[in-house]
């Protein structure tokens, strides 16, 4: 993938080693012959994240976006391809290597209700990553308190249990937990999807502030392209495990080239009735077919059964990513 100048907040060193490089990643679920015949959950996905950059990973449910996040975090076995962190291969890193990596590569998960152990105090949850790295308990507590204050919660919160907080506050705690050991890359898997509008905005602002303050990189996984475009400089659009389009956030969301990205952008409703009516007409005229329950035969373009542009070529040959405008697009006809 080419290196673009990010739309906002240009990172300092663009030509440095990418903080994360995912190359031809393949993930298959299950074992045996049956699994090998089924389409892979993630199918030859490649992208890079530069230091200080935020890359958004967008797609519908079942597009493999969360699986990619899990593979990077070592929670999902990789079938083929490689993942490198700061130039070092971590595709099959063992638990020891992961432990060393665990302070630099961290995660914020979707559900604030289950990402914190309800039986541990907030302090215990925050201290856990520090304690396993040998930080003494009083120091860990001090850092937990400071981190809570940074994410906008009172210091006293260390001694409370997660059930005593609202969803937005719990997500702040989850952010605090991710950032407490000064990471350089945070994987945010649907980190704001479960939140109400006003709390979602609070957490998004917090993530943006922390990024600017600490030079963090994010892999921001979400189904909502508008949320992604707030935070990300570059966006990767996935459909059924394959990259459909990737490029600068503004280009992908304002001038999408791939028919799937176009459908995705057009389907996201805007809160302006007149404009929404126009978008609806546009969407209905695009001729994108309903996702059918007919299973997709492997080979070719995964979107072809819904695509208004599809021809026979799309059924036989998987389109390679090629540069169209400012983005890389996997479509024969874009």
């Amino acid at each position: 993938m080419s290196i673009e100048t990010p739309a906002r907040q240009a990172p300092a060193a663009v030509l440095a080693t990418p903080i994360l490089e995912v190359k031809d990643l393949v993930v298959r679920y299950g074992r045996g012959r049956k699994a090998a015949a089924a389409p892979a959950a993630v199918d030859r996905v490649s992208f890079t994240i530069q230091p200080g950059e935020t890359v958004g990973l967008v797609g519908e449910s079942g597009s493999g976006k969360s699986t990619i996040g899990k593979a990077i975090l070592g929670l999902q076995k990789v079938s083929a391809g490689s993942i490198s962190y700061q130039g070092k291969d971590i595709t099959h890193a063992g638990s020891g290597r992961r432990r060393a990596l665990g302070s630099e590569l961290r995660a914020v998960f979707q559900d604030p209700n289950s990402s914190l152990n309800p039986r541990q105090t907030v302090g215990a949850s925050l201290a856990e990553p520090l304690r396993i790295r040998g930080v003494a308990a009083p120091d860990a507590r001090d850092r937990a308190e400071a981190m809570l204050e940074r994410v906008g919660l009172p210091r006293e919160a260390v001694d409370r249990y997660p059930s005593q907080f609202s969803g937005g506050q719990r997500q702040r705690i989850a952010v605090a937990r991710a950032l407490i050991c000064e990471p350089s890359l945070v994987v945010c898997d649907e980190a704001v999807s479960a939140l109400d509008l006003s709390t979602q905005a609070q957490v998004l602002n917090l993530l943006a502030d922390l990024r600017d303050e600490r030079g963090l990189s994010y892999l921001f996984i979400a189904h909502d392209i508008s949320v992604v475009q707030f935070l990300a400089q570059r966006v990767v659009v996935l459909y059924r495990g394959q990259v459909m389009e990737s490029g600068p956030a503004a280009a992908v969301t304002e001038d999408p080239k791939h028919p799937f990205t176009q459908a995705l952008v057009a389907a996201s409703p805007v809160p302006r009735p007149a404009e929404q009516a126009e978008r609806r007409t546009l969407r209905e005229s695009m001729g994108v077919r309903t996702a059918s329950s007919v299973s997709n035969a492997p080979g070719g373009c995964p979107f072809r059964q819904r695509c208004p542009l599809a021809t026979e070529l799309c059924a036989t040959e998987r389109p390679a990513l090629r540069v169209v405008g400012g983005s890389d697009v996997a479509c024969h006809y874009a």
Binding site: G102, S114, N117, E156, A201, L204, N205, P271
Partner: protein, 691 residues
């Protein structure tokens, strides 16, 4: 060889010394004390059980100090006697004091039963945690092994062990524990697996916590409740089996006393001295009962009393509330709204008549139009919607106001009346389409059953109708979908089926509670298009509950913005979204990333500081004032819902006109969030006048 599994060793051994040094800091309280303590003393049965067991343990431990006789002391002047002053519980056939023998045997019985508990529960828990953590292969090895263990006859094994090692009770009880552990493993496995799949376990794995650390710190504490319950039950089982073994002669060697042995000798005198059976039998039975009572009390889930279906008392209370409303507001035929028009007037909904969840809500839905109820969670929009169907959860009821629908006041309708209206006149589609469908039956069965019940059709006719309905909701291969089970179809398809199900009674009003929230945006757009065309074709009305302003813009004719149980602004959708008058609506729009395109995306989104107040904390004045950028002293007084000046719009804000004139916008302020995000929301009186 007894694996000691203390109930809640939450910290890993490596951490123990450091944690001890900094005890007051990061305290890790064992789940046991927090969760089980109150339950244990919640019912008289378990209190009695705890008291009895505690007394037994205390008595058996201190037995040597206070027992009136030695176990072998024989009093030939009182053989087989009943209770006397010298022998409180009587004597046996050799004139030995029963009281002394029972309590001398107690320590051994209780102690060796405890061995069974420790081995069975300890081993079962360890195996379950191993299987949950170790992946598919480990799990299947352990599961197959335990299945084999469960299929061997336990009695035979126990007797064989006794044959081999003699009546060594601790060893026999430990072997019994191993046999029982297979069953315990089965009980624990599901729970351990579900704990293992929690996101916080993923988070710990990302931290680099080892498998052992995760099992001890995140899985074991979650299992404590089950461990304690199973321990109590296994304890009782252990005692019974031990007594049974002693009864058939495999107890401690004579003359050493044992409960089973005493019952055995009592059984030989059951005709000439029936009393002999009573003390030992009673002590054994009561101890077993006590252990079971404790197990039952601990096993009860915390909200077992609040069942899903309304209790008889709740139903009576609701009926009373309904008749009170009916008496207070008879429907005036002249004021009644037109056919198929819903008119909600001053609706209030409360919990058991005290805390109010929805206050004074009014709106109208004309025939063939779509009304959106919009707001954040906790604003009462779902409660408002459910009250239209008489489907409020148990304990929650309409406490005032009217829901006028085709000449009737639904707020005053009895449960029986509502049964005639639900499905036929007013139908519901919910957020989770899969919940509306029963996984045990095919789509076709469920759809035809609903059609036959609601429309009184025959089987064949209903099937044709079902096909038609599926086609109507945009399903192309309807024939095939009829034969599928809900789990075989995608979420979007399931929501279409759920809509078809809702349409089966040809309702005139559809209540849609977040119908697209769980769906992908492309599917959401299709479902909204479907709803729009249904409204156009059938003249049906829709009340749609949503938090998504984009959905409102897409489908709603009118919108009512709710905040803290009130409507704060209502009117035509275009008017409200393009020209919001209430600060809350203004703020919601400013916080919505969808409102901005990538080109003019702000550096920061506007936020609303704090959170929606709890019903008990609602102030008398404006309920939004504490979070409002424009709040002033005038906001402390109750604010009425007044015409906003644009068409039929209404707004509940004393500063609405002022804001409109000055064209003020909700700015993305930098609020010191820790001040506003108080963990316990308080009622705040805000005195900051921006105007």
């Amino acid at each position: 060889m007894i694996p000691s599994v203390a109930p809640a060793p939450a910290g890993s051994p490596a951490e123990a010394p450091a944690a001890g040094a900094a005890a007051p800091t990061v305290s890790r309280r064992p789940a046991l004390t927090r969760f089980s303590g109150s339950k244990l003393f919640a019912s008289p049965g378990s209190i009695a059980g705890v008291a009895w067991l505690a007394a037994m343990v205390a008595a058996s431990v201190t037995a040597p100090l206070w027992l009136p006789f030695k176990t072998e002391d024989q009093d030939f002047t009182a053989v087989l006697s009943g209770p006397t002053a010298a022998h409180w519980l009587g004597t046996d056939e050799l004139g030995r004091d029963l009281l002394s023998r029972i309590f001398a045997a107690a320590a051994g019985t209780l102690g060796t039963s405890m061995i069974t508990v420790l081995v069975a529960v300890g081993l079962g828990t360890i195996l379950a945690m191993l299987a949950a953590a170790g992946g598919d292969r480990t799990e299947s090895v352990i599961s197959r092994t335990t299945e084999i263990m469960m299929s061997i006859p336990g009695t035979v094994i126990i007797l064989a062990v006794i044959g081999a090692v003699g009546t060594n009770i601790p060893v026999v009880m430990a072997i019994l524990g191993i046999l029982i552990s297979a069953g315990i493993y089965r009980v624990m496995l599901g729970q351990a697996k579900s704990l293992q799949s929690q996101l916080y376990v993923d988070a710990a794995k990302v931290d680099g916590v080892s498998m052992l650390g995760i099992s001890l710190r995140h899985v074991l504490p979650g299992l404590t409740n089950t461990i304690v319950v199973q321990s109590a039950l296994i304890f009782a089982v252990g005692m019974l089996i031990q007594a049974g073994l002693a009864f058939i002669g495999f107890g401690p060697p004579i003359p050493q006393p044992s409960w089973g042995g005493m019952i055995q000798s009592a059984s030989q005198h059951v005709y000439d001295a029936p009393w002999l059976m009573v003390p030992t039998g009673a002590v054994l039975a009561l101890t077993v009962l006590a252990a079971n009572a404790i197990g039952n009390a601990l096993g009860k889930s915390p909200n077992a009393t609040a069942s899903h279906l309304p209790s008889a008392a709740a139903r009576r209370q609701r009926a009373k509330a309904v008749s009170a409303i009916a008496a207070a507001s008879p429907v005036n035929p002249e004021e009644a709204p037109a056919q198929d028009q819903l008119s909600v007037r001053n609706l209030s909904v409360g919990v058991d008549g005290s805390v109010r969840l929805v206050t004074d809500v009014s709106f109208d839905v004309e025939r063939g139009t779509v009304l959106g109820l919009v707001g954040e969670s906790g604003c009462g929009k779902t409660m408002t919607a459910l009250s239209l169907l008489g489907l409020l959860p148990s304990g929650v009821s309409v406490t005032g106001g009217e829901i006028l629908w085709n000449g009737r006041n639904l707020a005053a309708a009895t449960d029986k009346d509502m049964e005639g209206i639900r499905g036929r006149e007013i139908a519901l589609i919910s957020q989770e389409p899969m919940r509306a469908l029963d996984p045990m039956f095919t789509v076709g069965y469920q759809l035809t059953a609903a059609i036959r019940r609601l429309r009184g059709m025959g089987k064949a006719e209903a099937r044709t109708e079902a096909l038609g309905l599926l086609q109507k909701v945009g399903i192309v291969d309807a024939e095939r979908i009829l034969k599928t089970y809900p789990h075989q179809i995608s979420g979007g398809m399931a929501q279409r089926v759920a809509i078809a199900l809702a349409l089966s009674g040809r309702p005139r009003l559809l209540v849609a509670d977040e119908p697209t929230t769980a769906l992908d945006v492309t599917v959401q757009a299709e479902i909204l298009s479907l709803l729009r065309s249904l409204v156009k074709d059938t003249g049906m009305s829709v009340v749609i509950v949503t938090h998504d302003l984009g959905v409102v813009a897409d489908i709603c004719d009118r919108v009512a913005v709710m905040y803290a149980g009130q409507v704060v602004e209502s009117g035509q959708t275009a008017g409200i979204l393009d020209n919001p008058r209430h600060p809350y609506t203004l703020a919601l729009l400013a916080a919505d990333p969808h409102a901005n395109s990538a080109a003019d995306m702000p550096e920061r989104l506007a936020t609303i500081s704090g959170q929606v107040p709890q019903p008990k904390d609602w102030p008398a004045g404006c309920r939004f004032a504490a979070r409002c950028q424009f709040a002033g002293s005038a906001c402390a007084a109750p604010v009425p819902l007044l015409p906003s000046g644009s068409e039929s719009g209404l707004v509940r804000c004393v500063k609405a006109d002022e804001l409109a004139v000055e064209g003020l916008a909700w700015v993305p302020t930098e609020v010191p969030t820790h001040r506003l995000l108080d963990v316990t929301p308080k009622v705040m009186t805000v005195e900051k006048d921006l105007a």
